[in-house]
Structure formats: structure tokens, C-alpha cells
């Protein structure tokens, strides 16, 4: 083995190990925090299944609204000889590391010439405040589906399309908001034409496979999809704490205006696709990440009943974009700043009064509009600036964003 390569790798390994230890130590500080979500939901679901017996048919006693793969994991974690609070958080922290590895691989794919690409992606992801708070303190599991969404994007960059569908299927099995990835995938399918529509069938097949434990427990095979039907009507509010435009119109009745935001979201995405087709823009390694971020951001910004945690995937994408091009650092900074107060409030730190919520919504709204203007001007300009996005020089691809 090349000794000079070894000398380069040792500092990287040491850095990775150090950051990992720091990340775990910080998360340990929150191991005993019991949030309302854990106390009123996760723990109750765990106890319901625990008291239903030792066999897998205990899954039938599950009363939660999370999809069945989560129920299976809760059931499995309940069998460990440690308190469920610790096992649940440990599971999520492990997925933080998986998320960090995936983020590192994405950064390395987008910035191949840089020796520290993977390290930057890994370390920064692990140390992000929203990532730390989400798993170690709040006890939420957004890292799980985000890992698989990021993996899907990674495989898309590698042009391994069956793997993309597989990862997306697994992500969908865990959370319905994996749908934020779909606009990008549909755009990729439409513009690139590198894979068949039949490959989309891998998604429901994967979801079905992920639900096999529930089916073995006695559920109908349709549980794979019926679980989501209830979720779409569970939160009948336009605004549900994600700082989007609906904060300003939260008093409007959902039963009357709930469909309008969904239609408006589709219209906005339709305009974008129309412009992409008209201007003959092609997806490539340089513009894929900004487009994925924008489409996911549009969904979270316009759709109703968005929880405050639903920005998790976009925040991570924005961070990766900033790692690839430091000039876009303002995007993740503002994005995370707009949701961080809610994370802190959820874990019992500080308050989240209406004035702060308004500031969050205002900041996020302005950020969305500005990012839309910047991205659209970059993609749809008619002059040679568009060719800068295809430049082979490292980092220049995002020079204008």
C-alpha cells in the first residue's frame, strides 16, 4: 500500500473517530429527556405491544399512527434488556450515523476531487443541531426515512435506478413525507428518460416486503397502504407548526380549504416542469441537488398540515449543498434557524410564542421566494451563464447560487 496514502488517511480516521465520539457524547446528554411525543405516543405503543404477549402477534395490539415497519422495530426494541427510552434513542442515533455516512457519500459524489469530501459530509451532518436534537433529545425518527431518501439520491447520481426505487420504497415504508422526493424523481424520469415507468413498481413491492412482519402477525397485506389513508386526514389544520405560508392563514377552516394548498403545490411544480421542458434544461450532477431541494421545499412550503420536523430532509440537502459550494451557506443557516426554536421548545428548552413563530414563518417565506428566484434565474437564463453550471471545474457549478 502507498505509504503517502496511509499518511493522508490516518488524520481522516482520527477526525472521524473524534467527531463520532463527540456526537455520541452530545446525544448522551439528552438520553433521559422524555418529550410529550415519547410519553403520549411511542411509550404507550410499546407498552401496548409488551402487554399483548411475547409473540409477533403482539403487533396486532399496536394502536399507533406510525407505519407498521416502525411498529415492528418498536416491538423488537422492547425485547432488549434496557429501558425502551434508551433503546429507541439508540436506534435513532445509529441511524444518525447511517445518515452521516450517506451524506458523506453524496458529498463525495458531488465533489469527487476533494480529499475531505466524505469527512466534511459525515462530520457536519452528525453535528447539525437539528439532527442532534431530533434523535438524541426529542426521540424522533426522521433520520430513518431521510437516510433512505438520501441513499436514493446517491444511487440516482450513480445512475443505479433500481436501487433508487428500492431505497425510496424503504423510505416510503417508514414515512409518508418521503413523497417529497417524488417530484424530483418524476422530473428525472421525464427529462432524462433513462429508466422505465415500470421500475416505479419496485416502490410498492418494497413497501410490501417491509410490511411482511405485520402481515405475518395477522394484518391484511393492504396494511401497507391503508395505514397512510388515515394519516392524510389525521391533522386537519392548514398550519401544523412548520413555518410555511399557512402560518399566516391558520384560522381558515381546513375542511373547506384543505384541498386548495395541494392543488396550488401541483400548479407550482407544473409551472417548473413546463419551464424545464420549454428551456430544454437537462438534469445533471450540478443542478440535481438544487432542484431536489427546491421541489421538496415547495412541497413543505405549500402543503397543509406540515409538522415542524418535516423540514428535516430539506435542511440536510441545503447543508450538503453548502458543503459542495460554500456560497450557498445562507440557505441552510436561515432554514435551520427558522425551525430550531421549535426543536428547542419540543425538548423543553425555551418557549415558542406567536411572535417567534411569526418571525420563523416570515423568514422561511422570504427564504423560499429568494431561493426560487435565484434557482429559476440560474436554470432558465438564456445566456452562457447556464453553461457555467456544466463547467468541469470543481465547485464552479454552484457559483451563482
Amino acid at each position: 500500500m502507498n505509504p503517502s496514502k496511509n499518511r493522508t488517511r490516518y488524520p481522516i480516521y482520527i477526525l472521524l473517530a473524534t467527531v463520532s465520539v463527540i456526537a455520541v457524547s452530545i446525544r448522551c446528554l439528552g438520553r433521559d429527556i422524555i418529550t410529550a411525543d415519547f410519553e403520549n405516543c411511542l411509550n404507550l405503543w410499546h407498552l401496548d405491544m409488551l402487554h399483548a404477549g411475547p409473540g409477533i402477534d403482539a403487533l396486532l395490539a399496536y394502536t399507533g399512527d406510525y407505519p407498521m415497519p416502525y411498529a415492528f422495530i418498536i416491538w423488537l426494541l422492547g425485547k432488549l434488556p434496557i429501558p425502551f427510552l434508551y433503546s429507541w434513542k439508540l436506534f435513532n442515533v445509529l441511524f444518525d450515523f447511517a445518515l452521516a455516512v450517506t451524506a458523506g457519500k453524496v458529498v463525495k459524489q458531488l465533489k469527487p476531487g476533494h480529499p475531505y469530501s466524505f469527512v466534511l459530509g459525515f462530520c457536519i451532518t452528525l453535528l447539525l443541531p437539528n439532527v442532534i436534537l431530533n434523535s438524541g433529545f426529542w426521540g424522533q425518527c426522521d433520520c430513518v426515512y431521510t437516510t433512505f431518501l438520501l441513499a436514493a439520491f446517491y444511487f440516482w447520481l450513480r445512475k443505479k435506478y433500481p436501487a433508487v426505487m428500492l431505497m425510496l420504497g424503504i423510505a416510503f415504508s417508514f414515512k409518508l413525507q418521503s413523497i417529497f422526493f417524488m417530484p424530483f424523481l418524476l422530473i428525472a424520469y421525464w427529462l432524462e428518460r433513462k429508466f422505465s415507468i415500470l421500475q416505479f413498481l419496485l416502490i410498492p413491492v418494497t413497501m410490501f416486503v417491509m410490511n411482511i412482519p405485520a402481515i405475518l402477525a395477522g394484518y391484511s397485506p393492504m396494511i401497507t397502504f391503508t395505514k397512510y389513508i388515515g394519516l392524510t386526514t389525521e391533522c386537519p389544520w392548514l398550519y401544523y407548526y412548520y413555518p410555511n405560508i399557512w402560518f399566516f392563514y391558520q384560522i381558515r377552516p381546513y375542511y373547506r380549504f384543505g384541498t386548495s394548498p395541494i392543488l396550488l403545490t401541483v400548479v407550482v411544480l407544473l409551472i417548473f416542469v413546463l419551464l424545464l421542458v420549454k428551456k430544454k434544461v437537462r438534469l445533471n450532477q450540478e443542478n440535481a441537488l438544487p432542484i431536489l431541494l427546491w421541489t421538496a421545499y415547495t412541497c413543505a412550503f405549500f402543503l397543509p398540515a406540515m409538522h415542524e420536523r418535516y423540514g428535516y430532509f430539506m435542511e440536510l440537502l441545503a447543508v450538503i449543498m453548502a458543503i459542495v459550494n460554500i456560497r450557498s451557506l445562507w440557505i441552510p443557516l436561515i432554514m435551520i434557524a427558522c425551525t430550531l426554536p421549535k426543536y428547542l421548545f419540543a425538548v423543553g428548552i425555551g418557549e415558542n410564542p406567536l411572535s417567534i413563530q411569526m418571525a420563523e414563518a416570515f423568514g422561511n417565506s422570504v427564504l423560499y421566494v429568494v431561493y426560487t428566484c435565484v434557482l429559476w434565474s440560474q436554470l432558465f437564463q438564456r445566456n452562457e451563464h447556464r453553461h457555467l453550471l456544466k463547467s468541469e471545474k470543481e465547485g464552479k457549478a454552484y457559483a451563482e447560487i
Binding site: K194, L198, F247, Y249, Q250, F257, L264
Partner: protein
């Protein structure tokens, strides 16, 4: 990818604009249908419970007439707003066609989307019962008539807009002055136009007398400078006056700048930010003061 998929995608790409047009129209109608009997606060605060708060003698009389004779007053009033929205969209397309000699599907799509699905337009017509869209329609009709040198119909059209909402009188006056100055500079200020301007002035005087009548039959001037037309309470300060003006002219500036942006590239960003500002302002009022 299958060859069949290629063929289908190519076909859809060639006709995508038509699909998009149809979709936008369906969405525009669907969204409005969802709010067709939604009763916003302005119905209670300025039309039904406290009609004197409505700043228009004509509109107030019309609503009073309809309330006595119709069980579907809310839907009727909403239909006025919706008709205004579609009329503004049609007129915007007409203006485009006049300026560019033809209206292609792409232009029609973007014009329709902007005029029918602009968030400010939806808030004003669907969330409330504002008559701004009708006023805007009449203003655009007036401009159209003026371009065809039909001066008297133009004067009546813009005057009708101002009678429906007296807040539009300053707009009408400014537009008339600009038109008169332009015609004078070009040396084409004709007798019919002068007659139309005089007619407009008479209608303005009539409107002032009709609208500025207080509860004790006294008169108070400058309705635009009064916070509460019922009690004649003035604005507390420049800040409150400014927010009052945003409430009165939000639709006009948002839609007007949007229409200008189609012809002037430099207006696009300002138009977008005007929309955002009005949207956030109205929303802020929603959250704190239940304004609409």
C-alpha cells in the same frame, strides 16, 4: 426505457401547455368553488351586520337590495368577485394580444395562472368578499376604451369602478391626469376627451357627496384618511395609515404590478415582492386581528 414511453412523453411534451392550461382552469374553478359560501369577516364587519362600514354607497345599496331578495347572498357576492377575477384574466389576455399581435398558448397559460391563481387574488376573492376584482375589471375596460378613443365610455367605466369602491378614486384621478398630460403633449387632446374628463369630475363630486355622509347627516372629507368610517375616527399615525392603505390598495398594487410585469421584465421581481408583502401583511392581520 420502452419505446412506447418515449413516444408518449414526446406527445405530452408537444401538448403539455394545453394540458397545463386546462389544469389551471380546473384548479381555479375548484378552489373558488371550495370557498363559494365561506363567510369572511368583511361580510360581517362591513356588509351585513354593519353596512355603514362599507365604503361604497352603490355597493352597499346593491348588497342591501340582494339581501332582501335572495337566500344565497353569500354565493352571489362571491360570484361577483369570481366574475371579476375571470374578467381581469380575459382582459389581460386581450391586452397581450393587442400588444404582441397574437396570443400563444404559453402566454395564455402564464397570464391565466397569474391572474386566477395569484395568492393575493385568491385571498381577496375567495377568503373575503372584496369587490376589488370588479373594480380592476372596470379600470381595464376603461383603459381599453381609451385606447380605442371611446372617451365617454372610458370615463363611465372608471367612474363605476370608483363608485363600487371609493378607494379607487385616487387611482382614477391619477390615470386620468396621466392620460390628459400625454394627450396634451402629443397635441391630441380633443373635445370628446375634454368632455369625458369633465364628466368624470362631475361624477367624482357626486361620489364625494354620496360617500361622505356621516351618521348625523354631516359630511366628513377624506374618507381615505379615516380609520373608521362609522365613527370618523382618524388614523392614529403614519404607521397605522400606511397599513390601512395596504389593506385598501393591496389587491390593486399586487395585480397591477403583476400585469405590468408581463410586458416589463424589470417589473417581475418587484411584482413578486409586492405579492409577498401583501400576502404576508394580510396574513399577519389574519393571525392577530381577524381583518378579513
Amino acid at each position: 426505457m420502452l419505446k412506447f414511453e418515449h413516444t408518449v412523453i414526446e406527445w405530452i411534451n408537444d401538448h403539455m401547455i394545453y394540458f397545463a392550461l386546462g389544469f389551471v382552469l380546473i384548479v381555479a374553478v375548484w378552489i373558488r368553488a371550495a370557498g363559494c359560501d365561506y363567510v369572511g369577516n368583511d361580510y360581517h364587519f362591513s356588509l351585513y351586520d354593519i353596512p355603514e362600514n362599507c365604503q361604497s354607497f352603490l355597493y352597499r345599496s346593491l348588497v342591501g337590495f340582494l339581501i332582501e331578495r335572495s337566500d344565497f347572498i353569500v354565493i352571489l357576492l362571491k360570484c361577483f368577485s369570481y366574475a371579476g377575477d375571470f374578467a381581469v384574466a380575459m382582459l389581460a389576455m386581450l391586452f397581450w394580444r393587442q400588444r404582441h399581435s397574437r396570443l400563444n398558448a404559453t402566454a395564455a397559460f402564464f397570464l391565466l395562472t397569474a391572474c386566477l391563481l395569484s395568492p393575493v387574488v385568491l385571498i381577496y376573492s375567495m377568503g373575503g368578499m372584496k369587490v376589488d376584482s370588479l373594480c380592476m375589471t372596470l379600470l381595464l375596460v376603461g383603459i381599453l376604451c381609451f385606447r380605442k378613443k371611446w372617451f365617454l365610455p372610458a370615463a363611465f367605466a372608471v367612474a363605476l369602478a370608483a363608485f363600487l369602491s371609493p378607494a379607487y378614486w385616487p387611482v382614477v384621478i391619477v390615470l386620468s391626469c396621466l392620460a390628459a398630460i400625454k394627450q396634451k403633449k402629443e397635441g391630441t387632446l380633443s373635445l370628446p376627451m375634454a368632455a369625458a374628463l369633465l364628466c368624470l369630475l362631475c361624477l367624482l363630486v357626486l361620489s364625494v357627496f354620496l360617500e361622505n355622509r356621516g351618521m348625523d347627516n354631516g359630511y366628513f372629507w377624506g374618507k381615505l384618511f379615516v380609520f373608521n368610517p362609522l365613527t370618523r375616527e382618524s388614523y392614529a399615525g403614519p404607521g397605522q395609515w400606511l397599513t390601512g392603505m395596504v389593506k385598501l390598495y393591496g389587491y390593486f398594487f399586487a395585480t397591477g404590478s403583476l400585469l405590468l410585469a408581463f410586458d416589463h421584465r424589470k417589473m417581475r421581481l418587484p411584482a413578486l415582492f409586492v405579492q409577498l408583502a401583501v400576502l404576508l401583511y394580510v396574513g399577519w392581520q389574519q393571525t392577530y386581528a381577524l381583518a378579513i
